[in-house]
Amino acid sequence: MELNLAELNRTQYPIPAELQNNVAITSLSKIYNWGRRNSMWPMLFGLACCAIEMIATASSRFDFSRFGMEVMRATPRQSDLMIVSGTVTKKMVVPIVRLYNQMPEPKYVLAMGACASGGGPFKEGYNVVSGIDKYLPVDVYVPGCPPTPQALLYGLIALQKKIDGQSIITSDDVPWYGVGPSDPTPIPILGPDIIDPRQMDMIRRQAEQAARGGTFAVRELPAVAKTAAALPAQKAAPAAAAAAPAAGTMTPEEERRAAALARKAARAAKSAGEAAPAAAPTAAAPLPGGSKPWEESHDIREQRKAAALARKAARASKSEG
């Protein structure tokens, strides 16, 4: 892409008129991002149906090399962008995480299509991961089944815009400008079912519970939802406030439905009631103990955001001291 100096030149410093086409003064982030955004090399890596549309996007009619993406690399070590083009299965997510870990930073993930974004039509399948964001941080989601080449191009342009907004002076929004290497994503284990190593503690707790004679509560309802399920499923009632004991007369189907309704109501009440950051436990007050395994954050983006916030706080206190 041609370098537009006038566009790049964002400074108060006056440049003489005769030099304006030859000299630009800009920030390091800007010139660095300009280089990066226009040479995003995707990994040559297709999973399913979407890969065919990805190839169509690469070919002459749509041609994403216009955006600096013409070189598709078959090795993760030379690629900047992983286009997750298709259904991610449990069997395949293990190699995908390995590939992601082998990509050099800065690296980006684009979830192409409904399956990669959230499981898509195959979500209920026993071998299907409901979206690659369960394991990897996704930068851009492109909806569609499969997305048209135009949609994929739009997603790629959105990614370029995202890169434009990133700054190399702070490691808060992107992990790779911090000091030292960032942590690799733990590789899932193919056991009796797929095991996310980040959930090991939870599985252990559940197994201990089962060993003590309790239920191995894969399908058990969250306590909040359960108490709410006992309430008559009225949309108006702000749920979970009055805790009635579970009646046990409903079928599991009905219970789940009521529970979902109650949770919805609780969420609505929460967002309407308080705008403060959700640090304190919310509507789940009647819960004993306060351990809510189903609300534990496994989203890597949440974790990263929390880590960035903590770092920021530490820096602030340091500079004060």
């Binding site: 399913a48 209920e124 499969p146 979902a260």
Partner: protein
């Protein structure tokens, strides 16, 4: 060609064959008398003898499909049991001899038919993996789609997945109440997982890889292996895939190499196993049509066709059934033949990628494909996932005008008259592309020297391995379902079955090339029929039919990649067969991989990718 055609005086109809079979095995073969079912039930301990008799004496030499059904619960005619269903055909043509063997659910075991038809190999492994039926005498009974160590056999009716809601769709959470929530909100782990309650956390190691290598003879004693010069060597195990640019998706091959020569090759699949069949059993019959699009995503129209044919067979068992109108059939053939051209262009293009002509030929083929896709988009609403056919009809008639580009470079999208567009495409553009391809590639020295004599599969082996499509016809077996077991309006159309006798990669390439020409020939006959039937209805009152009569059906079509079959069972509750009891896809890409190891033995590593390319697989269909 070594095949001897059976004497027509000796080989009779299916009824004769069944009578013959019952006479030969009076105590072990009986008619399947369930409502809507056909074929015979063979007692399990005589299955091997009966199968040999069917193959050798009755000349049903081609085992098309072998699949399992789990009959559990009320409403069936007998006790709970597992059943293997086999469809055998004669390569000289004709309809299927269906035979079944039943076994107990708890101790499910049947004799393996791999010694009779090697094409049963992967299909039996699949039945073991998904249904837990053990096959006595199977040489390599490992899981094939899921990994070793997975908990349970997921296609059993009593196995519930983590996101299980209820047996039938639409789920209550969607309709009529419509309280939509995310399934993972109700799962403790927040994702699509389910562990056995007695999970042993102390021994939680990933054994899926080490189990894969059993039978590979790793750790070879080097002292026993010396080459002709007396140099001690060792064999090397090399993995290719699941992430590899030449495996056409997430396919994996594990090879044992002696130098650069392959001594053993095993395909490993399941990396795109997205539970098509399990989901299909919860869906209504109609729901499954868009899912079939995603099987062989290059030619979704052909996938639709096979499935609607199967369900139409079931519908025909009911009292009030009218077959599709003539225009419907014309439209279906139009779409399917265009898909076949797209499929073969794509197959040849990617095969050339594997031979080293990296992406240049593909770019030329994609040009033509884009125009066909524009047509599909205008008619069905989507470029790839057309979801076009319905039971007894199609989704919509052709529009008056369509939007497309004439020239992919520097051209706007223009508005065309549909018939004019089709005429130009079929009479000029597609033949021109095929001629261009032919001119540049067929006589190319590089293509010929790389592909002639490589990846050989003899006619007997091709039949025995249940190979289908260009793989079978490239080995000299003129078996095309459009001619051998005709459906739709193919009997009245004039075309030849493409066949080559060399059995190598070049022969398969030639079969595809000739077949595209034959498709154009068919399309040219379709055009006047389109004009002639203008105004005729293309929808049917059965299109959105909720109730399907009881019974079984096997609908099969000649798809671009080979024989695509759908085995659909409507059973269980007599009042409510809104969703199929069993929905099985006989996937050509999956079964065509059975001879891959056989074809690759003794070739060089560099040829393996090209041999795989010449089979032409698509992973959505291989793994389903």
């Amino acid at each position: 060609m070594v095949l001897t055609a059976p004497d027509p005086n000796k080989v009779g109809t299916i009824e004769d064959a069944i009578a013959d079979l019952k006479a030969a095995f009076p105590n072990d073969v009986s008619d399947d008398k369930r409502e809507g079912y056909g074929g015979v039930i063979v007692s399990a301990d005589k299955l091997l003898e009966v199968a040999s008799y069917i193959r050798d004496t009755l000349k049903f030499d081609y085992l098309s499909s072998a699949t399992a059904v789990d009959y559990l619960g009320e409403g069936h005619h007998s006790n709970d049991h597992m059943e293997m269903v086999y469809h055998a055909y004669r390569t000289t043509g004709g309809s299927a001899l269906v035979f079944k063997a039943q076994t107990d659910r708890e101790k499910a075991e049947l004799p393996s038919l791999v010694s009779v038809w090697r094409g049963a190999d992967f299909q039996e492994r699949e039945a073991w993996d998904l249904f837990g039926i053990r096959f006595k005498g199977h040489p390599n009974l490992k899981r094939i789609l899921m990994w070793e160590g997975f908990y349970g056999h997921p296609m059993r009716k009593d196995w519930k997945e983590a996101f299980y809601e209820s047996e039938h769709k639409p789920f209550d959470s969607r309709w009529p109440e419509g309280h939509v929530y995310r399934a993972e909100e109700l799962n403790v782990f927040g994702s699509n997982v389910k562990y056995p309650s007695d999970i042993d956390l102390s021994r939680l190691t990933d054994k899926s890889e080490s189990d894969l290598y059993t039978g590979f003879g790793l750790g070879v004693d080097m002292t026993h292996m010396t080459d002709e010069n007396g140099i001690q060597t060792d064999e090397l195990v090399v993995n290719m895939g699941p992430h590899h640019p030449s495996t056409h998706g997430v396919f994996r091959m594990v090879m044992r190499l002696d130098g650069e020569t392959i001594t053993h090759l095993e395909p490993v699949m399941g990396y795109l196993h997205r539970n098509h069949e399990k989901i299909g059993e919860r869906n209504t019959y109609l729901h499954n049509i868009p899912f079939t699009d995603r099987l062989d995503y290059i030619s979704s129209m052909g996938n639709n066709h096979g499935y609607v044919l199967a369900v139409e067979q079931l519908l025909a068992k009911g009292a009030k059934y009218t077959p599709p109108t003539y225009r419907t059939e014309v439209l279906r053939v139009l779409m399917v033949e265009l898909s076949r051209i797209v499929n073969h262009l794509w197959a040849i293009g990617f095969w050339l990628n594997d031979l080293g002509a990296f992406f240049t030929p593909v770019l030329y083929f994609v040009q033509e494909r884009e125009r066909i896709l524009d047509f599909f988009e205008a008619v069905a609403g989507s470029r790839m996932m057309c979801n076009y056919m319905r039971f007894g009809g199609v989704f919509a008639d052709l529009p008056e005008r369509i939007k497309s580009t004439m020239n992919l470079m520097n051209d706007r999208v223009r508005d065309f008259d549909t018939m004019q567009f089709l005429q130009e495409m079929i009479n000029e553009r597609i033949p021109r592309t095929i001629d261009e391809l032919d001119e540049y590639l067929t006589n190319s020295d590089i293509v010929q020297s790389r592909s002639k004599g490589v990846g050989y599969l003899s006619a007997e082996d091709a039949i025995n391995f249940s190979a289908a499509g260009p793989l079978l016809r490239g080995s000299g077996v003129a078996y095309d379902i459009r001619r051998a077991d005709p459906y739709s309006i193919y009997p009245e159309l004039d075309f030849d079955v493409a066949v080559q006798h060399e059995g190598d990669m070049y022969a398969r390439y030639m079969v595809r090339l000739i077949e595209m020409r034959e498709s154009v020939r068919i399309l040219k006959q379709i055009l006047p029929r389109l004009e002639y039937t203008k105004g005729e209805s293309v929808t049917s009152s059965f299109a959105y039919s909720g109730k399907i009569p009881l019974g079984e059906a096997y609908g099969r079509v000649e798809n671009g990649k080979g024989e695509l079959g759908y085995y659909v069972v409507s059973a269980g509750d007599k009042k409510n067969t809104a969703n199929p009891w069993r929905y099985h896809v006989r996937a050509p890409s999956f079964i065509n991989l059975t001879p891959l190891g056989h074809m690759c033995r003794g070739t060089k590593v560099a040829d393996v990718v090209a041999i795989l390319g010449s089979i032409d697989i698509v992973l959505g269909e291989t793994d389903r």
